[in-house]
Subunit: 196 residues, 2 copies
Amino acid sequence: MIYDSLIHYIQERSQSTLMPSDIALIREAFVYKKLRKRQFFLQEGDICKHFGFIVKGAMRQYTVDQKGSEHTIQLYIENWWASDRESFWKETPSIYAIEAWEETDLLLLPKANGSYERVNAIPAFNEMRIKLDDNNSIASQRRLRASMFDTAEKRYEELTLRYPEFIQRFPQHIIASYLGITKETLSRIRNQSAKK
Amino acid sequence: MIYDSLIHYIQERSQSTLMPSDIALIREAFVYKKLRKRQFFLQEGDICKHFGFIVKGAMRQYTVDQKGSEHTIQLYIENWWASDRESFWKETPSIYAIEAWEETDLLLLPKANGSYERVNAIPAFNEMRIKLDDNNSIASQRRLRASMFDTAEKRYEELTLRYPEFIQRFPQHIIASYLGITKETLSRIRNQSAKK
DNA sequence: AACGGAAGTTGACATAGATCAACGTTTTTT
DNA sequence: AAAAAACGTTGATCTATGTCAACTTCCGTT
């Protein structure tokens, strides 16, 4: 069953135990949705109305600048939470798009109709969420530091170590834009390292 | 009283009301500490044992690389929370230093002796914390995007708009390193803009 | 007030990575 | 299977920003 992976995910990341009533609430609150390749979870200009848990698949979040180049902000695979927090919280139009890169199974937690609050009130969920936020904050600080102070080559190497899945599942030009470099530069970096 | 500013801060950022017992707990859990200019809240290699709420003052968080140059990761002023989350959570030695840039009044929430858990169990505090985490996550995503895709000049302009206080209270070379550029480049950017 | 150190400026030069353009390869669509 | 689109590579050149070094200005300490 599709909900099992979410329930397992929550349980694994908290001390508290999920009660049967909690599980019932989760099944009720989260809505299943399947996206085909290249379908959008969120389009630029729309308000992000869900937190999405990825059961299976891969997605990417990006913006397009005035010149028409895409900048990849985040990549997502199984067991990641996809959302534009700013748009979700402030209910403002998003500047990002989030697109399924592979066929993707999602469980959507809507902001509307109190689902979000009721789920957050589950102790195990709240614990998991605090840990998730901490890890996000640690990861984005790391990524920021790297983007400001490390070379493109070092950032690529670190990515291959930390998230090897990304490299296998997304094409090079997307990896490049996630690293904040051009596809040409990434191609050269890869040729360089290959020679070593 | 020094605790009032913290209590006011929490109350302002939550729906729930702080009960007298909550306030008593906060006064008990948070420890007051004054740092003089250039004193450290955290030194590189130490484990970060507190979340620090800044009542008054200004601090900065930085690393020193192999070449001896300092990279400023974060600046803090009144009503900001200072901490190295990674070190705090994982209880690993920090790669950062956090230093008082002005004389600073802090309220420290220790990780030890259950203070942290008890305070987090206060509903108003938990709500405030969720909002704080969301805002941090939004801010660091914004900063990451800017560092990867905007020019130094644009990043400086945005900083002057978003956090004008930083520019007034920290010297230029620290602002430069917060922006991920050298002091020479920042100096040139400022001269450029002045001419316009 | 005068000294010493920290902060900021300016110029000459170096370099990582971007841009542009052409071409090769792989994948998708028909 | 052919055509089209997406993806990746390579070379030439350009540009924003870094590096190094000399100099000036400001500020805190005595």
